[in-house]
Symmetry: none
Subunit: 128 residues, 2 copies
C-alpha cells in the first residue's frame, strides 16, 4: 500500500482532535468535533485519514456492537466500565491484573497489537 503520506491541514486537524480525546470516538463524532472546532474537513476525508492512520499504527480502532468503528490515538491508559443494568450508572475502574492476563492470553495464541474490551455489569447497591 501507499506508504506515502503527506502532511495536510486536514490530517493535522484530525490528529489534534484525536489527541484531545481519551475515549474511542466514531468517525462521525470526530467529524463533528472538527466542525465545532471550525476545521472544515469532509467526512470522506475523515474516513480516509483515519484509515491511513490506523495502517500507520498511530491510531487504534475497535468495532462496537452496533457495527460502528471507533478510533483513538494509540497508547493511552485505558480503563474499563462497571455498569448498573438497572439505573444505567457507570463507574470506571482500572485493573492492572486484568490487563496483564489479557496480554498473556493473547500471547498464548500468538496475537499481537492487542487491545481488549472488558465490561462488567451488575446491579449497584443503590438499586438493590
Amino acid at each position: 500500500m501507499a506508504t506515502n503520506t503527506r502532511a495536510t491541514k486536514q490530517k493535522l486537524a484530525i490528529t489534534e482532535v484525536l489527541e484531545g480525546q481519551n475515549k474511542f470516538k466514531s468517525a462521525q463524532e470526530i467529524h463533528e468535533l472538527l466542525t465545532k472546532a471550525k476545521s472544515k474537513v469532509g467526512l470522506a476525508t475523515v474516513y480516509r485519514s483515519l484509515q491511513s492512520m490506523v495502517q500507520a499504527g498511530v491510531v487504534d480502532v475497535i468495532v462496537s456492537s452496533d457495527g460502528e468503528s471507533r478510533y483513538r490515538a494509540c497508547s493511552q491508559d485505558h480503563h474499563h466500565h462497571l455498569l448498573c443494568r438497572r439505573c444505567g450508572q457507570t463507574r470506571e475502574f482500572v485493573a492492572p491484573e486484568i490487563e496483564k492476563l489479557a496480554e498473556v492470553i493473547a500471547k498464548k495464541y500468538n496475537f499481537t497489537d492487542t487491545d481488549h474490551i472488558i465490561e462488567i455489569s451488575g446491579i449497584c447497591k443503590d438499586c438493590k
Copy 2:
C-alpha cells in the same frame, strides 16, 4: 421487551441451520444457507429472529472488523473471544482467573448479579 416467542417454522429452520455450523456466520450467510436448504425465510425475518435469539441467550454474536455481525449457537460453557482485527478469525478461550477478577472488582464496588463481556482483539500470526 417481548419475552414472548412463538415457535414458527422460520425460527426452527434458523435454529437448525445454526446448529449445523461450528463457525460464526453472518445473517446473510445464514439466509443463503436457508435458501439452499429450500427453506424460504425472508432476510428481515432472519435478522429479527437472530436478534431475539441473542436476547434469549441461545445464540452468540460477535462483530467482525468490517462491521458485520456474526452468529453462532451458544456453546455450553462460558467463554470469551479472541478476535483478529485484520482477518476476523476468532478463537475461544476460557480464563477462570479473569472470571474471578471480574467478580472481585464488582464486589469492591458493591455490585451484585454480575455479568461481564471480555473480548480481546489483536493481530493474529497469519496476518502479521
